[in-house]
């Protein structure tokens, strides 16, 4: 496969393509009265911002002001770059920056019958809702079996996803929770491991699919932590493939994965129009310089 000399990265600006941008409360700075009103359920005098206040909408919801979201974005981005083991920081970054992208995803889901089903039934993927033992008993080559193999190989569990805290809309909170939980399934479908290389590839794929700014940021800044050899592989093989796959594939948020575990993986990938992973030539010391110059 010829290496591309230039990577063309069209980035869809989700804000311009969303059907209806509902203006959320322009509450810049919360006051102490607001916090006491959550807990006490009583008015603490007439607050000028009373009409803009949103109480907690779901369990684990932490109402935040614009200022706090900005601080959280900066802080979580800084920590996520410096300490890649802090997955919760990447999650927080996704929540604080993803409001408009999530609205666009929700519109896409509402336009699709399976997406509507998912939004109404709200399935969750964790060890309580998905029977991993049953998946292990499936024949080799099926989606469910490959998923469990992938979990075992990479030593991860579907329970390690942080709950949503900073999204101020209940349905969008479910959308981002769903996105987080099917992230591992994306890994399985794309055949990528959980090392930094695989994560950057999947993030780029997701950035194209979902339009979430956090995915784009992860795909752009994640490679900073890699060696030059890995970055070469990313730039020349993985990223272009991820971008192509992202555009060619159907909207993967509209797939009811729990009902398709028994299907063979290759057929599922063909149905979802996900191309096979790229063939990366092994860069041994003898051919590294030759490949690198191409």
């Amino acid at each position: 496969m010829a290496a591309h000399s230039r990577i063309f990265l069209p980035f869809r600006f989700a804000i311009f393509t969303s059907q209806n941008i509902r203006l959320r409360p322009r509450l810049i700075l919360l006051k102490a009265e607001h916090y006491s009103r959550i807990s006490h359920q009583e008015g603490v005098g007439a607050s000028p911002h009373a009409e803009e206040w949103t109480p907690p909408l779901y369990q684990e919801h932490v109402p935040t002001s614009l200022f706090q979201k900005a601080l959280l974005t900066v802080g979580s981005a800084a920590v996520a770059i410096t300490d890649p083991y802090r997955h919760d920081m990447i999650a927080v970054l996704g929540e604080t920056t993803g409001y408009y992208a999530l609205m666009r995803i929700r519109d896409q889901m509402k336009a699709d019958p399976v997406g509507q089903l998912i939004l109404s039934e709200r399935p969750r993927i964790n060890t309580r809702t998905v029977d991993l033992e049953e998946l292990r008993n499936l024949p080799e080559g099926t989606f469910g079996r490959e998923y469990v193999n992938w979990l075992d190989r990479n030593d991860v569990t579907p329970d390690s996803r942080a709950p949503v805290k900073f999204i101020d809309d209940e349905e969008l909170a479910y959308v981002i929770q769903r996105y987080r939980e099917i992230h591992d399934l994306f890994h399985t479908l794309l055949g990528m491991p959980t090392n930094m290389l695989g994560e950057c590839t999947v993030k780029m794929f997701e950035a194209v699919q979902t339009g979430l700014p956090m995915c784009a940021m992860g795909a752009v800044f994640g490679p900073l932590r890699l060696s030059s050899r890995q970055r070469w592989k990313l730039r020349n093989y993985y990223i272009p493939w991820a971008v192509r796959a992202g555009y060619s594939a159907k909207c993967l948020m509209n797939v009811y994965y729990e009902k398709r575990f028994h299907e063979p993986l290759e057929e599922l990938k063909a149905d979802l129009k996900i191309p096979p992973p790229p063939q990366v030539p092994k860069s041994t010391s003898s051919n590294y310089s030759r490949l690198y110059k191409r």
Binding site: Y35, V92, K165
Partner: protein, 340 residues
């Protein structure tokens, strides 16, 4: 009881700790229902947990949970939230206490050991100074120093007073007489403190005890100084903790409390409120992955009585010469009282 309640302003109350009649400046009729009447009714009292209302029986457990969660990042968060100013506060606290060598200190809610480490270093420094100025000659060996004493063989007054405490008074043993016991209800905080002590090389000088400030596992009249830094606002019944402090102190002992307090200056207060509610929980989320614990922290600060009210509570527990010093315009305050 109703007749007594209707009397306002200055009323003599029998302090429950010292059995001494204290003149209370608080308006009795304003007091919320006392413990006695509630025990008769048998209802569960509710108390505050930050801005939430919960049952009193739950509060200790919830506070315990908060501190178990924050223990590992406690010191980093303190530095981040106060921008290092908490170190200055604690240094000032130790200057106010100004302990002499030979003081037995009980540091309650001492968790990660900040006050205790400062105490040990202070005593060591004081002893070094004393050695430099006095030449370190005094009382090396009690058998040899009887030139100025009586020659009848009876012990001098000094010997009598100090011999039980000081044993054979060599230089190295002198600093062991200054004792510090760190007491905390939460074992995780104590573990973090022990690790820090090991790193600083102070592990031999400290004793770590698990205990509740409302029911201290120490005998009466056993410590010379009782300190509690940023711990008393987490106690469910502050009056009980104050009474316990009174109980374990020797007569003449000092109660010293460092705690967040109310800022009276409205300009500084608005900046402080903004910073507390907007920035601190965000720092908690980013550094310690724990928004809720740091939200509890800033709310519990708002719920704590102001400087005057807390000083009144200390007086009601029986302490005298109760004073307070504001730090950073009232963000923190050092309250001091003596058991005399």
């Amino acid at each position: 009881m109703a007749a007594l309640r209707s009397v306002s302003l200055r009323v003599g109350r029998i302090c429950r700790c010292s059995n001494r009649i204290t003149v209370s400046r608080r308006n009795l009729s304003e007091q919320t229902s006392s413990d006695e009447t509630d025990k008769e009714e048998g209802t569960e009292r509710s108390t505050h947990f930050g801005f939430e209302s919960i049952n009193e029986s739950e509060k200790t457990g919830k506070v315990h949970e908060v501190f178990s969660n924050v223990a590992s990042k406690y010191d980093i968060m303190n530095d981040a939230m106060s921008l290092g100013v908490h170190r200055l506060w604690k240094d000032r606290f130790m200057q106010v206490l100004d302990p002499l060598p030979g003081t037995r200190l009980l540091d309650v809610a001492g968790g990660t050991g900040d006050i205790a480490f400062r105490f040990v270093n202070w005593i060591k420094q004081k002893e070094q100074q004393r050695r430099k100025t006095s030449g370190a000659e005094f009382r090396l060996n009690p058998l040899e120093t009887d030139e100025s004493g009586s020659d009848t063989g009876l012990p001098s007054a000094e010997d009598y007073l100090y011999s039980e405490q000081r044993g054979d008074l060599s230089d190295t043993e002198e600093k062991k007489d200054s004792k510090v016991i760190i007491c905390d209800i939460n074992q995780s905080m104590l573990e973090v403190g022990k690790e820090r002590a090991k790193k600083l090389g102070l592990e031999d000088d400290l004793v770590w005890v698990t205990g509740n400030a409302e029911e201290l596992p120490f005998p009466d009249n056993s410590v010379d100084a009782y300190t509690i830094a940023f711990g008393i606002r987490n106690v469910t019944h502050i009056e009980k903790a104050l009474c316990e402090a009174y109980r374990v102190l020797t007569p003449g002992g000092r109660f010293l409390c460092l705690e967040f307090s109310q800022v009276s200056n409205p300009l500084i207060s608005s900046v402080y409120d903004l910073y507390s509610f907007q920035v601190i929980p965000v720092l908690g989320e980013v550094i310690a992955s724990d928004w809720k614990s740091y939200q509890y922290l800033v709310e519990s600060i708002r719920r704590f009585p102001n400087q005057e009210d807390f000083a009144e509570m200390i007086r009601e527990a029986g302490f005298r010469m109760v004073t307070y010093d504001n730090l950073t315009s009232g963000v923190a305050a050092i309250h001091s009282g003596f058991k005399i």
